[in-house]
């Protein structure tokens, strides 16, 4: 497939990266039904780690099989599939070359006693499994934030040196943050900005509310109407180097399909690059999931 102008424009923003890393970003951007549009949908499946297998998969039994998710992402025409080590190992050969994979390198679980994650994989794993990118979660605001940053800066440097891209999940939590504050606009924009500052190629955050959490930040936000979600998306994108970095938003817990579609329209209208959406599709029957993903693709294509 010939590289489109939209993708060329995005890649040009990664001006310090090696051809190898750009090629892996291009693999993701040129994959699937959104290939070439500059938009992307990524299927992440790390809920087995976070919530356990039964809570994740009992509702849709075929999803216990790692191959199910590879196939779902391929059949839906998505851009990439992201999962922890074992999940990727279990399908890396069968689906080699069929869809770019993102190896999620750290994970938490239901019993975690700190706002931290365990590192569960390495750049060497990503290389041997043919992954296009590594994924990593940071918790801005938590007591482990500095440690998480120091872990990803080493992994990311190593990844860049071998031409692998870096995706950072930036989830504010812990410390002085209120529960509401974890989703606040100022907090989410700050979290996205820090992911950009530590060198992420793709930044993944939650859709922010119109709450402003930090007192010191009130002044910078007042006088603007933040009630429209698309405006909030646009602000987050601006906070990622004025749109020089790819920003995708997560869908959150499984919810009504209509809400999912509206989120996607807001992401699109606000200039976001797409969605990372996991539980919503894989906790539905495959046909329903394919239908939902088809509609999301069409939304990002501007077809509805």
């Amino acid at each position: 497939m010939t590289m489109t102008a939209a993708v060329k424009a995005i890649l040009a923003n990664y001006e310090s990266d090696s051809p190898g890393t750009k090629a892996n970003l291009a693999r993701i951007l040129m994959q699937g039904r959104l290939g070439g549009t500059g938009k992307m949908i990524i299927l992440p499946v790390d809920q087995g780690f976070e919530h356990g297998p039964a809570r994740s998969f009992a509702v849709n039994e075929p999803a216990y099989d790692p191959h199910y998710h590879f196939q779902l992402a391929i059949d839906a025409g998505l851009n990439a599939y992201a999962a922890p080590l074992g999940m990727i190992e279990a399908g890396a050969d069968t689906f080699a070359g069929q869809i770019p994979t993102i190896l999620k390198l750290n994970s938490s679980n239901s019993w975690a006693m700190t706002r931290d994650q365990a590192v569960t994989g390495s750049v060497d794993d990503a290389l041997r499994l043919g992954c296009a990118a590594i994924g990593f979660t940071i918790y801005p605001g938590s007591e482990s934030f500095f440690d998480l940053v120091e872990e990803i800066r080493e992994l990311s440097l190593e990844a860049k040196s071998v031409g692998i891209a870096t995706v950072i999940w930036s989830y504010p939590r812990g410390g002085d943050l209120s529960k509401e504050g974890e989703l606040a606009l100022d907090v989410g924009a700050y979290a996205a900005h820090m992911a950009a500052l530590i060198g992420a190629h793709i930044i993944k955050v939650k859709l922010p509310s119109d709450h402003i959490e930090q007192k010191d930040a009130q002044k910078a936000y007042e006088g603007t109407d933040w009630s429209k979600q698309s405006d909030r998306v646009r602000h987050v994108v601006k906070c990622c180097f004025n749109g020089r970095r790819i920003v995708v938003f997560s869908g959150g817990a499984a919810k009504g399909a209509d809400a999912v579609f509206q989120d996607a329209r807001d992401i699109r209208d606000g200039g976001g690059n797409g969605s990372i959406i996991g539980r919503n599709p894989f906790q539905r029957p495959r046909e329903e999931a394919l239908a939902m993903l088809d509609r999301l693709v069409r939304i990002y294509k501007g077809e509805e």
Copy 2:
């Protein structure tokens, strides 16, 4: 011995592994009286570390000698022998090539003040001792869980790079878990799933009870009858990548032989791959142990 279809099918699930690692898994799967069936019995002897020598061996004095255990595993026609560094060193040459060994790389002891283990060996040790696999214990739920995960992910990556398989003992304990919860079905299935996610080739868990520990998991389990042990085994196997990983179950403390045999039948009927059984055989006189192991072999062969 020609590779059987059953073993070929199992090995095919380890699709990201090198021929070297697959060969070591095959060594275990093709060994002994269960060789080729896809079932396995492993003799583990780390109780000297966990409980001290007298509590472990006084009841059967020949068991003080490391050679005793190698010979017992060989004579009973088992698939592998697992033990800590010193125990393997003491027989590695005498029994070289007679039975695959699993070097247990971490251990706790009676005086441990935290839910943690000390690393007592390395992949280099496994190589020089000709081991087919490394073994490692993790404690999901404990305050040391992240540290344990980060230790095994490094050891496992190194092992895979030199063609050695990884066996993970996944024992939930500590933290918010109740004593009953350590054996709960949801907890055990979660623990097994996490072992798969961090890259284990063989997963070792305890036989779960029908208790459901986690509130958030109740919904996923309700509406199903979990009273049969074989069904619980089947659920755990499903949680290990829908059966794409070898799962073996431990026999627990020495108990009546009948209970041991019933456990094995349930493991077999539920689709488990076999037993790791230590104290039950080696704390009995050798002839009784051989008789017990003979019967277990026949159960796994479906002969009774």
Copy 3:
């Protein structure tokens, strides 16, 4: 451009450094409108990390774009541009060779719970991005001071081995220091001296007040009139190996332009080497910022 006598004299003080490191110091000293004078103005933009993007850039929207700052530093004829990893990555290629860059290797943020910073980059990053220097913050007096020192001593040794210069931001805080004490003359001079002792090429401190914080230091300061800011600057410079190290002073929070100009005159008159000034210019409209920086340049040239 031919090296001036003023710059040659400064470089001669770095007698243990390699030609490579001296060449990078020379790149900074010979750059821009102050090139060759021995004075320098550096534009630092790490407020996005420290305060978040909106608090930093909302007041001057073009500043959300990393290219804005490169261009501002170039157009104003400054000596160098300092920023964290992502900010440098985003413009390193476009502006390659147009202005020396300083890669800031550690950063804090609004939610930090300790007087510490996370390491966010490496000397390898500085090399691949073509930076002339690395930057690093230490907090004398804080509970993390020893750790920070041990981090920079490793980074600095590595940087010197590849010909990259080291800039240390030395900010006393925490521990027994009073709020007023953080800006005290004795404390600031001590902080600058320690930066010199651990091997900094360029030392960055805040302009000190005439307060003397430490009881034990009172005697050394009494009998001298410290009311003039230029005299305090001269004392700090003397504490940096009697002027053998380059010392620059920060402008602090955005304030009135007149105060900024007076500070620069005092720095110049006290023998300081210049200013690191960030928020004051980039939180003003570009034309105002250029006017302010133009006047600062003229002050350091002794033209007003």
Copy 4:
């Protein structure tokens, strides 16, 4: 000297070790007046670290000189001399080839605030000083036990890779252990067993009392008469892989010569390999010490 059958039998138990490591064990076993018997006496001098120089040497002033101890061990016809780094450095060249040395790699001191030791040397030190073995203390039961184990497992792996033997001092203390329990039979046997499990070639423990400390271990010990010290020695030896590892016992604080001799007879009769005895000889005048060591040698030779 031709290798004796007794020594050949012992070396055969170290079946996983390289010829280099066996040669160093042989050097110790074939040295001095007990050379070839399979018994050994080792002179350890680390009391300067543990108790300070005056408490250690003032009672016998020539002992302040490191050469004194080398010469004493040689003149008494002992098998090896063990000491910390500086003590070995101070005589390594003068006495090179005259007696095998054991470099003690960790030490505590009178002011230690935890049940831990500082690592004070390395395998590289042992190599450059021509040592036959490294020595290391572990404290089973203490809060530092896991750390100590992880330190020695790395040092021991490295030592084995260069043909140097490992001697482990296994001293239970701290945690839940009572003072009496530190010398209990079950505790001492457990401590010796763990030293064997982590790969020691030579295990050094204290002579155990007939106290049984652990409730859970009572059953394993009841019904046997443990009042004879030689029987307790035999039990400890059995717990070291049924006699497949060399076990030596310490003499404890300086005491009456008759008690020392009786201890040696019990060690010999119980199948122990010998004594590590320091303060008893070097805190006596040289002639008395030589007489004491002469008698110990004769006891181990079965001559009295």
Copy 5:
């Protein structure tokens, strides 16, 4: 200069060291007016780190310049100059070959909250700066003692491997030690002995008082009259391997010249190797300092 018999005798005690390390010890022993006598005076200037620049240098303003101290040590005919990284860097080229330098590798400061020091340099720094030795402070008795020991054992091993000597400052403090106890004879002798045990070539301690701090050590000291300072020096020297290691004593805080001279006579008469003396000379005007050092040299030469 031909090597003298006195120096040859000292070097012979360093029997395990490489010719490279001995050559660096010889450089120090053969330097200056005491060259060849076996005695030495070292000028240490790390007070800027410990107390800050103004408290250290305001009393003698030329001392703010690092070159001042190099020149003072050269002009006074001393044996070596010791200072932290930045101080050595600032003069290493100008004074190359004129006086041996000792790179002080760790330092504390006025705000330290623990009895610890930060590592501020490396053996690689010592090599590139042409230093004859590294210097390192340990705090026997403090909660950080084990960490400090483990740091210096690694640095010292590395230094020995490249032919650089090791000087250890051994300063008891913290923990259970009383203020008076930090200077007690038994404590100082113990501290000196531990420095020898961990492999120091030159040991630096404070002149001890006649107080005996440790109850357990009383017996070893009773019955001897310790009222003469020279006898206490002799005891410390004996505790450093019976005089096989070079021992120098510090002058403490600036004090009256007569006390300084008497200390030197006592050190000389007790068999100590000399003084490390900093504040006393550099906090006096240069001419006074030269006169004081001249007299110290003459005392060590036995000329008064």
